[in-house]
């Protein structure tokens, strides 16, 4: 009681409960899968929450600490955890989610091979896995199984394990490199 009176007198006699001030929103614009997006969000909003609130729910929320890789996206072509950046840091950047790699009507070979090899069980890790696999195959077109394991080291699957996922990425690498060979 004493403390309440003291604070009341300090605050020039007005009501002691401070009014809730919503955090200031900042304007953010960037592109997602080639589409320009504008939003407003407080500075503390993570890129993960920003993307999901904008409807890009293919970016999954797993651990929010950079451990599980479910929220893996490409930022200017580089794979990263969307939970480990502030939304405002994405200003002017190009973001690619799993939907930017291939769509239901036009699957990317990585996605096709994930289906063929039964590399999707519950599907929660899949969007992140595929984005990580995309970066891996862009940098290392013909990876060894060890390189595939290292490439998806930041992505957790809690269903069955990784054998089928590794098989799928291996098969996708074969198909992608044979396609490239034909084009030449």
């Amino acid at each position: 009681m004493k403390m309440a009176t003291a604070s009341k007198s300090k605050r020039t006699g007005k009501s002691s409960a401070p009014a809730y001030v919503p955090p200031k929103k900042l304007p953010i614009s960037f592109t997602v899968n080639g589409q320009e997006v504008s939003a407003e969000a407080p500075a503390h909003t993570t890129l993960l929450y920003l993307l999901r609130d904008l409807g890009f729910t293919e970016v999954k929320n797993g651990c929010e600490a950079g451990d599980c890789g479910a929220c893996t996206i490409l930022l200017d072509g580089l794979a990263m955890n969307a939970c480990c950046a502030l939304g405002v840091q994405a200003e002017g950047r190009e973001i690619t989610t799993v939907k930017g790699i291939g769509t239901v009507d036009n699957l990317h070979p990585i996605q096709q091979k994930f289906i063929e090899h039964g590399a999707i069980q519950c599907g929660f890790c899949t969007p992140g896995m595929i984005v990580a696999a995309k970066e891996l195959l862009d940098l290392t077109p013909n990876p060894s199984r060890h390189e595939i394991k290292a490439g998806i080291a930041g992505n957790l699957c809690r269903c069955t394990g990784y054998v089928k996922i590794i098989d799928a990425i291996e098969a996708a690498a074969e198909e992608l490199s044979s396609k490239k060979g034909k084009r030449k």
Binding site: E64, G66, A79, C84, L86, G154
Partner: protein, 288 residues
């Protein structure tokens, strides 16, 4: 920490100006910042300054035997940069074991240092390379030896108005020998149980200069000065390597935690340095 302001300057001077006199936090790759924010391990801040657009903090260069890494050099840079691969392959070997590829794309060298953690993986190799930290504030610039910069558990010698601009180290030379080992419970995304880095400059079979350091066994990674002295100036044999390894274990003060016991860590602080020194110098180890 909620409701902070945010700015993303593009120059060091604009960054320092923005940081002056306000309760400020810097963000770069965010791989420590965001988990800290989520787990509320961070203190309050009125302003968060994004460093990712400051081009002067990027890049790795080499001049007159000095390698300079901008504060924003990432762990992925350590794996791909030609200067690093040629001059200090120990940093690439470390980076290969650092978290996972997605984290490595964002985690910066300055971030790993300033986080101040005992298990900061980039720190032991940088200590063994005798790295220095370049700092800037509106009052001026200064350079601090990395081992002096780390003052305790999550504590560094940085002042509140300062920013790490670069990390430098002298090239250990083309014929230097090195070894790195990260002892951990998994191959990736693991927090280090014991980290050991060894950098040896060898001339006519004699170790001219040694850099040996340990991570995860003291409040902050440390250099093992005694062990370095034991090797320096000598043609090293198994006996001397063993003596140096014992000197390493002597400075280790590990704790028990969920990853390993203090007893095991202490033992590994002898086994691993001996193994790395012997492997680096081609000394056969009968019983290892």
């Amino acid at each position: 920490m909620r409701g902070f302001d945010f700015v993303a300057p593009t120059t060091i001077s604009a960054t320092l100006k923005a940081a002056k006199g306000r309760n400020t936090k810097f963000i770069a790759g965010g791989t420590n910042f965001l988990p800290d924010l989520r787990h509320q391990h961070d203190g309050p801040a009125k302003l968060v300054i994004d460093l990712m657009r400051v081009s002067a903090l990027q890049g790795i260069s080499s001049s007159k035997g000095q390698i300079k890494m901008g504060a924003l050099a990432t762990m992925t840079d350590f794996l791909t940069n030609k200067i690093i691969l040629k001059e200090a392959p120990i940093l690439a070997a470390m980076s290969e074991k650092f978290a996972g590829p997605i984290i490595r794309n964002r985690a910066t060298v300055a971030g790993n240092i300033i986080d101040g953690g005992p298990a900061a993986d980039a720190v032991p190799p940088l200590l063994a390379l005798k790295a220095k930290v370049r700092l800037a504030s509106e009052k001026g610039r200064r350079t601090v030896d990395l081992d002096k910069f780390l003052t305790g558990y999550r504590q560094t010698a940085i002042r509140s108005d300062e920013l790490i601009t670069a990390v430098t180290f002298p090239s250990p030379g083309r014929n230097h020998k090195w070894g790195y080992y990260k002892l951990a419970r998994r191959n990736a995304m693991a927090i280090t149980v014991v980290g050991v880095a060894v950098v040896l400059k060898v001339r006519r079979k004699k170790v001219e200069e040694a850099g040996i350091s340990l991570g995860s066994v003291t409040a902050a990674p440390i250099r093992c000065y005694e062990a370095e002295k034991i090797l320096e100036g000598n043609v090293v044999n198994l006996e001397l390597a063993q003596k140096a390894a014992e000197a390493c274990a002597a400075v280790a003060a590990p704790i028990d935690d969920i990853r390993a016991s203090a007893e095991y860590r202490k033992l590994m602080c002898e086994v691993l340095p001996r193994r790395l020194i012997c492997q680096a110098l081609d000394i056969s180890q009968d019983n290892d």
